[in-house]
Symmetry: C2
């Protein structure tokens, strides 16, 4: 992309912080997974319990990857203050005993509520391979990309609170197998995600010092949206269109 | 898996070489991508030119990853003889000047023949994110797994010649936009794949020294089948069922 741009136009100048933020937010408007059909089916009460089970056990793979992704990030940071700031993300997902259960445990309360065996969920044996590939692509991205770009890939959290609010309301209203207490994960994320997103947005604004770096940050948000979108594509293909790949979870409830 | 097995049965004994090979081949019979609907549509002449274009430009990502995967393997090998043996795989794909063009170049002859711009194909800008995630999962697998398991993941080539023969015949017969010369890639693989598969099969038979290692090799073949299957799932979802994700290739021919 940048080569082609250089050939036909003058070198682009640095975006202002506001222009940079607008470019990041435009990616959400274009391709955040709240635009996906499967998301609409899920929240609109159009899925069977078996389909919601499939969603929850696949999405577990994403939850399970997030603290590894954050640890991969921390492992590359030489600035102690930044490591300390980032570490609470691992606590948010893994819990900090004895007080707090953490996001993964809260996710398992949801899968419990859906009638799935914990051992089966955490083994990830029934997850779609496409889910695992997408999720691990995110871990590898954060492990391999420059730090500022790695931070930028977390910025989909800018778009998360509205999807979480919509999810809580839509799922409670539409599914009799979903109760308020099993949605603890999403309620907790309503406060966690904005705090993290604010920090990360400030970080990339301060640390992306060229237009190329700024564009790479926007591409990182696009990449991350693709990670989320591909998971819903795979769910829709397998469990809405009925093409479950060999070895993946087969619902036994309607 | 092994924990559960240990809890309910005595420790399994080493498979004989023949049992081990049979377990590997059974994976192909169960889930090699010649069983996939999209494969049948492709070879049966049921796809439009635009759909064949989508297949070819996505599959380019796989071709492009293979020599990187092989270099990742070589980078971990301390045995010079094994490195020398493995290196011809990189030549097979990248070519060894001045004589041989290599598999990637032959793939581009196919995409040329389909009317796609080389720059667009090689940029991979229009490829499905799910394709990239699956393909890179293979590169990471080979970079991260024990060497014997990494070798085992190449063993889908045991199943490749029949799919290639089927592809050559089916595509020539069914599509007027496919000519004999653009199928050079597959014709060349008819001799390359069996040579490589024979070596790799012999290698894992000699180097998997416990039942756990043997089972991990079989799992590696399963993993690799999933990499191939997920690519066809993504193509089918996007280009047969009509759910093209944001930013991906949109055919402009029927």
């Amino acid at each position: 992309m940048s080569d082609r741009r250089l050939a036909t136009a003058p070198v682009s100048s640095l975006w202002s912080p506001d222009e940079f933020e607008a470019a990041i937010r435009a990616v959400g408007a274009e391709r955040y997974h709240d635009k996906h059909t499967f998301h609409k089916l899920l929240h609109g009460g159009k899925l069977s319990k078996g389909q919601v089970q499939a969603w929850a056990l696949n999405r577990y793979c994403y939850q399970e990857a997030v603290p590894r992704k954050d640890a991969a990030f921390i492992s590359r940071v030489h600035d102690r203050e930044l490591r300390r700031e980032w570490l609470h993300r691992v606590h948010d997902h893994d819990g900090l005993p004895p007080e707090e259960l953490g996001g993964i445990e809260r996710w398992l309360v949801l899968t419990d509520g859906l009638g799935l065996q914990r051992e089966y969920v955490t083994s990830m044996a029934g997850a779609l391979p496409a889910t695992r590939f997408a999720v691990e692509a995110y871990v590898h991205f954060v492990r391999e990309q420059p730090l500022t770009i790695a931070v930028a890939s977390s910025l989909t959290e800018l778009f998360a609170p509205s999807i979480h609010r919509e999810r809580i309301a839509g799922m409670l209203e539409n599914y009799d197998f979903i109760s308020d207490d099993v949605l603890a994960y999403f309620k907790r994320r309503l406060t966690q995600a904005p705090r993290d997103a604010t920090f990360a947005l400030e970080y990339v604004k301060q640390n992306a010092k060229t237009r190329d770096e700024q564009e790479a940050c926007v591409d990182a948000v696009r990449f991350k949206c693709n990670v989320l979108w591909a998971q819903l594509d795979a769910l829709e293909h397998a469990y809405v269109e009925g093409n479950i790949p060999p070895g993946a979870f087969v619902p036994d409830v309607k």
